[in-house]
Symmetry: C2
């Protein structure tokens, strides 16, 4: 594996949006899911993750509330707004275009 997380830059938001598309979740859990899905090859750094939450909330793509856990560390739960759902749809489409483009630009016989 040869992953530079700088190469995933720009998809942090989309990855988070995707993780919230099945219902609300929280930072720590999202991070674990991402690590698990990537087979441990990739993780969102905490600073990156929480910076992204702020950015997404300010942009009106997610909403947050403090959990009401009576035990354990407090959690802030996030979920998608309508705009967030729209954005996820657009970004998912955009990914297909971007993927096809990079494929074409790196293609072995593209001369």
């Amino acid at each position: 594996m040869n992953l530079s997380s700088d190469l995933l830059r720009g998809y942090t938001d989309t990855i988070i949006l995707r993780r919230l598309s099945g219902g609300e979740s929280y930072g720590y859990r999202i991070n674990q899911e991402v690590a698990q899905i990537s087979g441990g090859a990739f993780e969102l750094k905490e600073a990156t993750l929480y910076t992204a939450f702020r950015r997404l909330e300010t942009a009106g793509l997610i909403r947050s509330r403090w959990g009401d856990e009576t035990s354990g560390a407090r959690r802030r739960y996030y979920d998608l707004t309508e705009a967030g759902r729209d954005r996820l749809r657009e970004d998912t489409e955009g990914w297909k275009d971007t993927r096809a483009l990079i494929d074409a630009l790196l293609k072995e016989d593209a001369r």
Copy 2:
């Protein structure tokens, strides 16, 4: 089309390396090829392109020489060093991993 230039971000160098893999070329031409391959949907901005050349040359991945054109604007030709070839190979592999990872992270039923 909805292309994330932020993902493309980390691939600028690889795209340039790829364009040089068939023999020497120069900035303006590379830019046109990229625009042409992408069907006009994407172009490397000049500042981005020339910054990348500096970075790649400093890193020893490409070499440059001034062209000896007797007419027309002067051109600076670039070509790959051995290290550049190696890097292109690695990055191309890395792209496959990155692509698979984002696919997995955005997959519709990945819960």
